[in-house]
């Protein structure tokens, strides 16, 4: 966000107060720096989707839908299914988002989720092959923001996991080469046991925190998104924002992210069974 939109961003005064609070280990909404807002999850939010989920983290809300289709494999992996993750920051979800082709934040959001899921091998792509070199299942994960009050990335990450978990294959009419989206089978997407949970850690002044509200997100200096398991394996990582950070701070961030992944997992565990 920059330029004319600055007028809607967190004011210098608020920034000063947020930092004063953080210096004492406090936040405006009473949370500790390492604490998430309440996470609530609803599945099956769109009957037409093969799988879907609504995730709320505080006032932040995203909807994630899964569609499955049959398509040609990529030339470099003839016997593996495909994954496409896209995201749209809907104008309805924030006065800051405008319609039109996706801008960088939407592109990055999709790619962050894509990489955590792809690199973790959460989806067992080798089981999505129908006929080698000709037909494979393609998994589409589409993310939409419904209300942006900070931390869309982590909300989208949770949404993608839960939606994948609930998705069911549509019937495939092999003779006529048609996917019957109206007739869902009971077959689920083959997923591995290692669950890639995404946590973004933000640095404001000398403080690190997770799950920022929009005001906090506006003034963050560095953010690092990490996808990994609760037992410490990391699959993806990306630093955002034009500020440098010390190696020591990176270590602190890695530790906080790992702790937070465990907490997030406990919150969403029952939706991942």
């Amino acid at each position: 966000m920059s330029g004319i939109k600055d007028i809607m961003e967190t004011s210098n005064l608020t920034e000063k107060r947020i930092k004063e609070y953080l210096a004492e280990g406090k936040r405006f909404d009473g949370r500790k720096p390492g604490e998430f807002r309440e996470i609530s999850i609803e599945t099956g939010v769109s009957k037409k989707a093969e799988g879907s989920a609504r995730v709320k983290i505080g006032k932040t809300e995203v909807i994630v839908g899964i569609k499955l289709d049959v398509s040609e494999p990529y030339p470099d992996s003839l016997d593996k299914g495909k994954l496409m993750v896209t995201s749209e920051l809907l104008p309805l979800s924030s006065p800051r988002f405008e319609s039109g082709p996706p801008r960088f934040p939407a592109i990055e959001l999709g790619r962050l989720i894509d990489r955590a899921i792809r690199e973790s091998k959460f989806i067992q792509f080798e089981k999505l092959c129908i006929k080698k070199g000709e037909k494979v299942w393609a998994v589409f994960i589409d993310i939409y923001s419904i209300n942006d009050d900070g931390n869309l990335i982590d909300a989208a990450g949770i949404g993608a996991l839960v939606a994948l978990k609930t998705a069911k294959f549509p019937k495939y009419d092999e003779k006529n080469e048609k996917v019957l989206h109206e007739e869902l089978t009971t077959k689920k997407i083959p997923l591995s046991k290692e669950i890639p949970i995404m946590v973004t850690v933000h640095k404001i002044g000398d403080n690190i925190l997770v799950d920022p509200t929009l005001e906090e997100e506006d003034i963050n200096e560095v953010r690092i998104t990490i996808g990994g398991t609760t037992d410490g394996t990391i699959f993806s990582m990306q630093k955002g924002n034009p500020k440098e950070i010390s190696i020591e701070d990176i270590y602190k961030i890695l530790d906080l992210a790992e702790k937070t992944r465990k907490k997030v997992f406990l919150n969403i565990e029952k939706f991942l069974k």
Binding site: I107, I234, M237, E244, I245, S246, Y251
Partner: protein, 236 residues
């Protein structure tokens, strides 16, 4: 560290960087320019500006705006890439801005734009790192005040072995734990301006990888410094 010696396909040492080449002034029209290569990976970068920001509504009265544009030439890889921006290049462009801006004294240029165009002529992995190295050189060559230089390198984990400066064969490694790619950019004073990761790694290994990057970027920094110094000699 595993005791078994892992052999790299091009015979390099585990912490060996491919032959580097750096040169500034490769695009005479630009305010600053440079090429940087890691073996077969070649990047060129050109800086235009600081110049007035257009469109005008994008002007920032508090500081200048760094705009990077990373693009692979269509014939830089085996399977031709459709020319023009895609999601990957859009992301790398932004990452490059984030990697460079911390060292730029950009507050000196309110309402101005500094455009950095990066093109990959030939790709054998680590293209974003080569691009960042070329861009940092081009910015220095353009005479834009900088607090420090930045240097970028990709650390890899092939199966269980950490290596420095991944090539394409290593990036595509599938056996064992497969390949993990960790591009990292640092200032010469150990400040980290960019890190990404794709693959599978423990936090302990990741910490080792960052330490390897710290050492490797020092080597790259020397190559960049030499390129800048050499360009001044020529003028004399």
């Amino acid at each position: 560290m595993p005791t078994k010696q892992f052999k790299r396909s091009d015979g390099r040492k585990l912490d060996g960087i491919r032959a580097m080449e750096a040169k500034v002034g490769v695009v005479p029209n630009a305010n600053g320019s440079a090429m940087f290569s890691f073996g077969d990976t070649i990047a060129i970068a050109a800086v235009y500006g600081p110049r007035k920001m257009h469109p005008q509504h994008k002007q920032d009265p508090e500081k200048g705006t760094l705009r990077c544009n990373y693009s692979m030439l269509s014939f830089s890889v085996s399977d031709r890439i459709r020319p023009g921006p895609n999601r990957r290049s859009t992301e790398i462009s932004k990452i490059t801005e984030w990697a460079l801006e911390p060292v730029l004294m950009i507050k000196k240029y309110p309402n101005m734009a500094i455009d950095v165009h990066i093109n990959i002529l030939q790709a054998n992995a680590s293209t974003r790192c080569a691009g960042i190295n070329a861009a940092a050189l081009a910015l220095a060559h353009a005479g834009i005040p900088m607090r420090d230089m930045v240097s970028s390198v990709s650390i890899g984990k092939i199966d269980k072995q950490l290596v420095v400066d991944l090539n394409k064969d290593e990036e595509d490694w599938e056996d064992g734990e497969g390949s993990t790619d960790i591009p990292i950019t640092m200032t010469s004073h150990d400040g980290l301006t960019h890190i990404q990761l794709d693959g599978r790694i423990t936090s302990k290994e990741l910490k080792e990888a960052i330490e390897l990057a710290r050492k490797a970027t020092k080597e790259i920094y020397e190559v960049q410094k030499k390129a800048l110094k050499d360009s001044v000699k020529e003028i004399k």
